[in-house]
C-alpha cells in the first residue's frame, strides 16, 4: 500500500450508522424541541426593530452611502481624475474626463456619478489614491426623477477633507504644479544638475 492510498483510506468516512443509540434519537428530539421553544419564546420578546422614519439613529462614520468628492487641507480639489474609481466600480456608475489646469495639476473636467446605478460598495473609495472620493453615512437621497440621481462634480464636491484630514497628494507626487517645482515636494532632493558630474 503506497502512502497516498493510506492517506486516502484515512479520509474515507465511517460507514453510515443511522440509529446508533436511542439516546441519540432523544438528543435529536430534544434539540428539535429546544428550537421550537426558543422561537416560541421570541414571540413574547419586544422586537428589536428600529422603525426608520420615526427613529433615525446616527450611523457610524464608515457607513457607506452618498459619495462626495473632498478637498485637500489647502482647499484644493483632491480628485486628480486618475480613473481608478471608475475602473474599480463594479456597476460602471462613475465617469469623468481628466484635464490639466493652468497650474499643471491634473483634475476632473467633469465628474459624474450615476446614483441610480451605484450600489454603495465602497470600492471607489478603496481605489482612490488621493482620498478624494469618500462615502458618507448620508443615505437619504432618494429622488422621484431618475435623471436627478445623476450627480455632477458640482453636486459631489464638498468643502472639507472628509475622513482623511491630512493627505495632500500633490505634496508627495513629485509632479510640477503651480506652487511647487521639481524637488520642492515632501522628501525630495533638489533636481540633479546634469551639466555637472559632481554628486
Amino acid at each position: 500500500m503506497n502512502p497516498d492510498e493510506r492517506h486516502y483510506r484515512k479520509l474515507k468516512p465511517v460507514p453510515p450508522q443511522r440509529f446508533r443509540t436511542i439516546s441519540e434519537i432523544g438528543e435529536a428530539l430534544n434539540a428539535l424541541g429546544q428550537g421550537f421553544v426558543t422561537t416560541f419564546r421570541h414571540l413574547f420578546r419586544k422586537p428589536i426593530t428600529e422603525e426608520y422614519p420615526e427613529y433615525k439613529r446616527t450611523l457610524p462614520e464608515r457607513s457607506r452611502a452618498r459619495i462626495v468628492l473632498t478637498r485637500d487641507p489647502d482647499g484644493n480639489e483632491r480628485c486628480v481624475a486618475c480613473y481608478l474609481c471608475s475602473a474599480a466600480c463594479p456597476v460602471s456608475c462613475i465617469s469623468m474626463q481628466s484635464a490639466e489646469d493652468d497650474n499643471g495639476r491634473r483634475y476632473a473636467r467633469w465628474f459624474r456619478i450615476n446614483f441610480g446605478r451605484c450600489i454603495y460598495c465602497g470600492l471607489c473609495e478603496e481605489a482612490c489614491p488621493t482620498s478624494a472620493i469618500q462615502l458618507t453615512p448620508q443615505f437619504e437621497h432618494v429622488k422621484r426623477e431618475i435623471l436627478s440621481m445623476v450627480y455632477e462634480k458640482e453636486d459631489l464636491l464638498v468643502d472639507h477633507s472628509g475622513k482623511d484630514k491630512t493627505y495632500n497628494f500633490y505634496r508627495w507626487a513629485g509632479i510640477r504644479t503651480g506652487d511647487r517645482d521639481k524637488g520642492e515636494h515632501e522628501r525630495e532632493d533638489k533636481p540633479v544638475n546634469v551639466r555637472s558630474n559632481m554628486p
Binding site: 421550537f36 422561537t39 421570541h42 414571540l43 420578546r45 419586544k46 422586537p47 428589536i48 426593530t49 422603525e51
Partner: protein, 328 residues
C-alpha cells in the same frame, strides 16, 4: 325541476362560501405568516398598511393586479400562462370534498355541509393533489430559465415522492373509518379523534403535508438562495399571485384534511361545526408558520431520504400494525 334548481342554488351558495372563506383566509394567512414570522424573529412584520398592517393583503393584491405581467421572450407562452391557474384551481378543488359541518335541515330538506360528498373523496383529494404537480413542473419548464426548470423538476419530484407517504399514512385512517368518503371519516370520529389512536400516521401526514405544500423546511423547489425563486422565478404580477394563492389555499386544505382525518373534522364542543373546523385549520396553519420560523431548510438528498427511507417505511409499518390490530 324546482327542487333541482333549489339544490343547484344551495350548491352554488356552498361553493361561494367555501371559496370566499378560502381566498379570504389565504390573503390573511399571508399577513399572519409575515406578522408571526416577524415576531418569531423579534421583528414587527408588516405594520404600515392599516392598524397592525391589516390592510397589507389588500395593498399586496392591488400591487400584484397592477403590476406588469411579463412573459419571457423564450417562454412557451400558452403553458407559461396556464401553469399558475393549474396550481390555484387544483388546490381550491380539493376543498370541495371537505365537510365543514353536520348535515342541516333547510326547509325540510337535508343539506349536507360539504360541497360534494364523493364516496371516493379521499382519492379525489389525491387526484387533485397529483394534478397540482403539473402547475409546478410546467410552470418551471415553460419559463425557459434554468432556475425555474430546476425548481420545477425539484418540485415535481418532491411532490410525487411525498404523495406516496401522504397516501400511505392515511390508509390506517381509512381502515378505521371503513370509507373513502371524508364525511364518513368525520362521522367515524364522533367519539374520539383519530389522532389518539394514530399518532404515527398523524406525524407522517403532517410532515408529508408540509412537504406537499412546499413549505419550509421543504421549500427546495423555490429555495431562494439557490434558485432565485425556483419554478416561479420568471412570474410577475397576478400570475405570481396565483402561485401564492395556490400555495396558501393548499396549506388551508391540508390543514382541513389534518382536521378531518385526525382531529375530528368539524366536531367540537360548544361552538358550531364550521367554526371548529376553521379554528383547527388556523391552528394547523399557525403551527406550520412556527415550523417555518424554527427549522432550517433540508438538503435535497436529505429531503428524499426522509421521504423514501423514513416516512414511507414507517407508514407501511403503521398500516401492517393497524391492520393487525383491526383484525384482532
Amino acid at each position: 325541476m324546482i327542487a333541482w334548481i333549489a339544490g343547484f342554488a344551495v350548491l352554488l351558495v356552498k361553493i361561494g362560501l367555501v371559496l370566499g372563506v378560502l381566498l379570504f383566509l389565504a390573503a390573511y394567512l399571508v399577513w399572519a405568516e409575515r406578522k408571526l414570522l416577524g415576531r418569531l424573529q423579534i421583528r414587527y412584520g408588516p405594520n404600515r398598511a392599516g392598524i397592525f398592517g391589516l390592510l397589507q393583503p389588500i395593498a399586496d393584491a392591488i400591487k400584484m393586479m397592477t403590476k406588469e405581467d411579463i412573459v419571457p421572450e423564450a417562454a412557451d407562452r400558452t403553458i407559461f400562462l396556464l401553469a399558475p391557474a393549474v396550481v390555484a384551481v387544483t388546490a381550491m378543488l380539493m376543498a370541495a370534498v371537505v365537510p365543514f359541518g353536520p348535515t342541516i335541515t333547510l326547509w325540510g330538506r337535508q343539506v349536507p355541509m360539504v360541497v360534494t360528498d364523493l364516496n371516493v373523496g379521499l382519492l379525489f383529494v389525491f387526484a387533485m393533489s397529483s394534478l397540482g404537480v403539473y402547475g409546478v413542473a410546467l410552470g418551471g419548464w415553460a419559463s425557459n430559465s434554468k432556475f425555474a426548470l430546476l425548481g420545477g423538476i425539484r418540485g415535481a419530484a418532491q411532490m410525487i415522492s411525498y404523495e406516496l407517504a401522504l397516501g400511505l399514512s392515511i390508509v390506517p385512517v381509512v381502515m378505521l373509518a371503513g370509507s373513502l368518503s371524508l364525511v364518513d371519516i368525520v362521522d367515524a370520529q364522533a367519539s374520539y379523534p383519530f389522532i389518539l389512536v394514530q399518532p404515527v400516521a398523524f406525524v407522517i401526514f403532517v410532515v408529508s403535508a408540509m412537504a406537499e405544500s412546499k413549505r419550509i423546511p421543504f421549500d427546495l423547489p423555490e429555495a431562494e438562495n439557490e434558485l432565485g425563486a425556483g419554478y416561479h422565478t420568471e412570474y410577475s404580477g397576478m400570475r405570481f399571485g396565483m402561485f401564492f394563492i395556490g400555495e396558501y389555499v393548499h396549506m388551508q386544505v391540508l390543514g382541513a384534511l389534518i382536521a378531518v382525518f385526525f382531529l375530528g373534522g368539524w366536531r367540537g364542543p360548544l361552538l358550531p361545526g364550521p367554526l371548529w373546523l376553521l379554528i383547527k385549520i388556523i391552528v394547523v396553519a399557525l403551527v406550520m408558520i412556527w415550523v417555518r420560523g424554527t427549522l432550517p431548510r433540508l438538503r435535497y438528498d436529505q429531503l428524499m431520504a426522509l421521504g423514501w427511507k423514513v416516512l414511507i417505511p414507517a407508514a407501511l409499518a403503521n398500516i401492517v400494525i393497524t391492520g393487525a390490530v383491526v383484525l384482532l
